[in-house]
């Protein structure tokens, strides 16, 4: 996909100011960046490299090592299906299959063609008592059954058009 060029905001400068004097600051700075843009944009990485006087490769080795950081712009709807042990046992694989089928995402892919929806697997969202669980953007849906998928997606689509 094309690389997006994001604006370097005051927020990012403030994060840099706060963390620059501290040892081992890179990961905290990247968290700040991702929180702002939803991912770690290419031009921001280059900006960080020059501000922190480190090679760009050093930024990328860290971004690519940690699962939490994304290099691609986020979808409008991020559906994170928990595949922790409790959720796995209670049917997470079936949920993922169902979701991808509904959204017409092929089994190996994550995004819908229009990049509106992303279905990803995450390890334990901390509500194991409510297994199986998924998180859509920030909202958690627990005690799910495969037949819940369709109505849940419908509500999202309705909310969006309203």
């Amino acid at each position: 996909m094309e690389t997006l060029h994001e604006e370097i905001t005051d927020e990012i400068r403030a994060i840099l100011d706060k963390w620059k004097p501290k040892e081992g600051n890179l990961i905290m700075i990247l968290h700040g960046v991702q929180q702002r843009y939803g991912y770690v944009p290419w031009n921001i990485s280059k900006f960080l490299a020059s501000e922190l006087s480190v090679p760009l490769a050093r930024i990328f080795e860290v971004v690519t090592f940690y699962n939490f950081f994304n290099l691609e712009a986020p979808a409008d709807y991020k559906i994170s299906v928990c595949t922790g042990t409790a959720c796995h046992l209670k049917g997470a694989p079936v949920l993922i299959q169902g979701l991808k089928k509904q959204l017409k995402i092929s089994p190996k892919a994550q995004y819908t063609e229009d990049r509106k929806f992303k279905v990803e697997e995450v390890r334990c969202v901390g509500c194991c008592g409510l297994a199986p669980a998924m998180v859509i953007n920030e909202e958690v849906y627990g005690r799910l059954k495969p037949e819940d998928i369709e109505p849940t997606l419908e509500t999202i689509k309705i909310e969006e058009t309203s």
């Binding site: 081992g24 990961i27 968290h31 860290v62 090592f65 922790g84 409790a86 390890r123 901390g126 008592g129």
Partner: protein
Amino acid sequence: MEKLTLKTTQRYREQQRAVIEKRLKPDQLTGGQMEVMVCRSTGCESIEAKRILERLKKVVNSKGLDDKIHITQTGCFGFCEKGPIVKVLPENVYYVMVKPDDIEEIVEKHFVEGNIVDSMLMEEQQGKTGRREEISLFKKQMRIVLRNNGRIDPESVNEYIAVDGYTALEKVLNGMTPEEVIATLKLAGLRGRGGAGFPIWQKWTNARKAIGENKFIICNGDEGDPGAFMDSSVLEGDPHSVIEAMAIAAYTIGASKGYFYVRAEYGLAIRRIQVAIDQAYALGLLGKNVLGSDFSFDLEIRLGAGAFVCGEETALIASIEGERGTPRPRPPYPSISGLFGMPTVINNVETLANIAPIINNGGEWFASIGTETSKGTKVFALTGKVNVSGLIEVPMGTTIREIVFDIGGGIAGGKKVKAVQTGGPSGGIIPEKYFDTPIDYESLNSLGSMMGSGGMIVMDEDDSMVDIAKFYIQFSVDESCGKCAPCRIGNYQILQILERFGKKRGKEDDLEKLHDIAFAMKKGSLCGLGQTSPNPVISTLKYFPEEYNEKIRKPKIVQTK
């Protein structure tokens, strides 16, 4: 806010205690007075606990009941599966799976008319007067680590102080020498709850004796085991108990700086820790000259970023240093050369939550709980196919059967139990025939599993052991940092073999190969991840060989080692 000193804390505590006295002693609630608690841990929070709390406050206010009815948010009560949960004192009843729309009815019928709404109670309490003892989840439990969970507002330092919070730090600063702290921990016999079970007094002694310009204390809140939420519940429900312990640890080893390392996914825990740290600074419980003493201690949060291996202590240190989270060979151990090359103590959240009660009640008290080799209690996140999933704390030496059947209420849907899994991706499967084993570090190891951090996942007759083994190995393949070959290649090769079994195309020599690869990984891997990741395979092979045999193309009898 005025800062507290060693001289003024006692008075302050008495004032704060008076505020929540009736919640602590419900029999003093008279004339329609009530204490209402709403769980706001991740589980309940995700399903509208916030709206329930707001609605409760609004409805109670609109009925003019503000004087009589006191409403608070708390940490986890334990039976997360039934959330959202509202607890009411003095009746001591739990309303479960509450919806915002239920609030009017609860307030009108119960709070105004005095009639408990039976149909919304926890099933076990229905038709009864409803007392704590009657809930099976609480039977056989003993709460030390979770002492304040579900009792106080985690976002209020005053409530923590009211329930004897920071008395242990006071006691230490009031004249215990570091040696006395260490002697108390030695007598207590506290061992690490993050997995390996290393004696705490030993680790603290090593760091105390080590020489360094600076020293550090780190709280390991990475909790990478998928399907476990013990540490997050403590951090969300009682963050001050961990801060207090870190201050005591810092005083003991001679550190002046501490870090909370928390996984980034734990948004609520991170927020609550930050609130707690800010409050502690404001009251002089952190910062320069803690409680007016000579001891100074600073604390900050560092976030993980979704890498299981960063729970391993040397990888965690690399991560705080801003590097890729790859482990380093030990020795040197972090207690000698850790963060930024300085002596560093790393302890798990649950380990730390035990410290203040030990200082307050003495080492002998703690040592009287548990088994010969393992003292105190253990918190488990009980999940999977049990009737009541949740967060529990039991004395060491409790049997698996007691946990699954007496506390967890047995298997859901009348199925037959097959096994439990403890220790996450590093642990093993324990079949039903060993359920009467008393749990401690040694007994779990001898069964081929391990204590781990405390996930306990119950499996029934429908669960395929080959599938479970494959699930964990897939996890380890994804999470191996790739630095050492035995772990990087070994896990992948095991996965390839297990995938064949999943398609019922296992080969005759595959079982032997699995054993060989596992052995090589145990011997050759750099860190605990690779050394223990074959455990789920080894234990399922040992206890359920027939499930593998069924999936070999030309069946033959297997000899397990």
